[in-house]
């Protein structure tokens, strides 16, 4: 039994032209038993910046609380909104502080710069090593299933609708294959004007 696949769950993020899409499955299990079917692994940190936390659910919840703590103090002290790169660095530092007793969760940050609307996506390992490619990132039990499919669907400079389609189809195929993820997906499409949340029905297992 691996701690990272105890609860199950997959998160995917893709970047397009002044938009990003972040998608999560909804299953929450304890090894083979499914305990809840409405647990999102993606959370809003600020209007245009979202974070996804896959892996061990208990640590994901704790890390989320710590992120919200630091984000609150940042915004009060600096009197400005968090940029996604800054949030990624904050989370990375938080994880590396626990280098020898780490949180068993792989964070994923996706968002638009609050001023320039430039898209930013990144994923980290459990001790905070940031990998910020231009195209897509995936974390969780369905990670390997996702990477190949994303490679096919992703193109340069997709607009919000195409990006949504690509993200939705990719996460659906991961949910089909991965036993520890499933029960539908929720896709957030973040553009500079609004955030569109769509729930997708997949095979409900």
């Amino acid at each position: 039994m691996s701690i990272m696949s105890y609860n199950g769950g997959t998160v995917l993020a893709m970047a397009g032209n002044e938009c990003v899409c972040i998608a999560t499955d909804l299953r929450f299990g304890e090894q083979m038993t499914t305990v809840a079917v409405d647990q999102k692994k993606v959370h809003k940190i600020s209007d245009k910046v979202y974070v996804g936390l896959a892996g061990f659910a208990s640590d994901a919840k704790t890390v989320l609380e710590k992120i919200n703590f630091r984000k609150g103090l940042y915004e009060l002290r600096e009197n400005r909104k968090l940029k996604p790169e800054v949030l990624a660095t904050m989370i990375s530092n938080l994880c590396y502080q626990h280098r020898f007793g780490s949180f068993f969760t792989e964070p994923l940050v996706a968002g638009l710069d609050p001023i320039t609307s430039k898209p930013y996506i990144c994923a980290m390992d459990t001790i905070g090593c940031i990998a910020a490619p231009r195209d897509f990132v995936a974390v969780g039990t369905g990670q390997e299933y996702l990477l190949g499919v994303c490679e096919t669907f992703w193109r340069e400079n997709m607009n919000a609708d195409d990006l949504f389609e690509a993200t939705a189809q990719s996460i659906l195929s991961a949910l089909e294959r991965d036993a520890a993820s499933g029960w539908g997906a929720v896709v957030y499409t973040i553009t500079k004007d609004n955030v569109n949340v769509r729930t997708i029905k997949a095979r409900m297992d």
């Binding site: 609380e65 710590k66 919200n68 703590f69 609150g72 103090l73 009060l76 002290r77």
Partner: protein, 246 residues
């Protein structure tokens, strides 16, 4: 009172004098007046506000960077007067305490709890030789889910009180008398009434030639609990209403 002998050190650190006074704490109170500013806080039926004097000490300073009002949490705002670095330190400490509470307890720290925490820290400094008291006082406003609008006054001695109306700074005695007279007549203000009451009291205490650009005003209401600051034009509009009323 019999004069006990003290070696003269009771003025230097936080120990008692023979008369039972702690001089350092009294000096801390005097430090609040060091910038010569005053502030008023008033609460109404569903709103609370703080009006504070603004003075730019040096023509070279960027005027937007001079402020005595701060946001402590998404539901609590405050005004601090006194030695400015001490004020900023205490604001940062209050923000940290409230953030830690939210992290530990998963709900926003109520104003009373935060006021008590700041007051306890102030008391700590009055009993310890190694840290002096902070030379600053705080007026805190919040809209509480259970108790409605709140105004708290916290001083360097470590006492905090829930107030119907409060003053802070050089003119705080004048403000206090002004508020007592006003609140005896009417205390169930709406939002504009609260703001105008605070402005009127501040104007009376400072002398009626205060302009809108010399004032800062923040308010909280049931619907807008976060830090809301009035622009100079809005303050001007309220001052005009007050002037036309008289």
């Amino acid at each position: 009172m019999s004069r006990g002998s003290s070696a003269g050190f009771d003025r230097h650190i936080t120990i008692f004098s023979p008369e039972g006074r702690v001089y350092q704490v009294e000096y801390a109170f005097k430090a609040i007046n060091s910038t010569n500013l005053s502030a008023v806080a008033v609460k109404g039926v569903d709103s609370a506000c703080i009006a504070v004097q603004k003075r730019i000490p040096d023509k070279l300073i960027v005027s937007d960077s001079v402020t005595s009002v701060y946001q402590l949490t998404p539901t609590i705002s405050c005004c601090m007067l006194g030695i400015i670095p001490d004020c900023k330190y205490q604001v940062r400490r209050a923000q940290l305490e409230a953030a830690q509470w939210k992290y530990k307890n998963a709900y926003n720290m109520p104003a009373e709890q935060l006021a008590r925490r700041i007051a306890d820290l102030n008391q700590f400094y009055t009993q310890n030789a190694e840290m002096r008291s902070l030379g600053c006082g705080m007026l805190m406003i919040s809209f509480d889910d259970e108790d409605g609008p709140q105004v708290y006054r916290i001083d360097p001695a470590g006492s905090y009180r829930n107030m119907k109306g409060a003053g802070l700074g050089v003119k705080d005695t004048t403000i206090k008398h002004s508020l007592e007279k006003k609140l005896k007549k009417k205390s169930d203000f709406d939002k504009d009434g609260t703001i105008q009451c605070a402005l009127e009291v501040l104007q009376e205490s400072l002398g009626n030639d205060v302009r809108a650009s010399d004032l800062e005003l923040i308010y909280v209401t049931k619907d807008k609990r976060a830090f809301n600051k009035l622009t100079t034009e809005e303050i001007e509009a309220h001052l005009t209403i007050i002037a036309n009323r008289d």
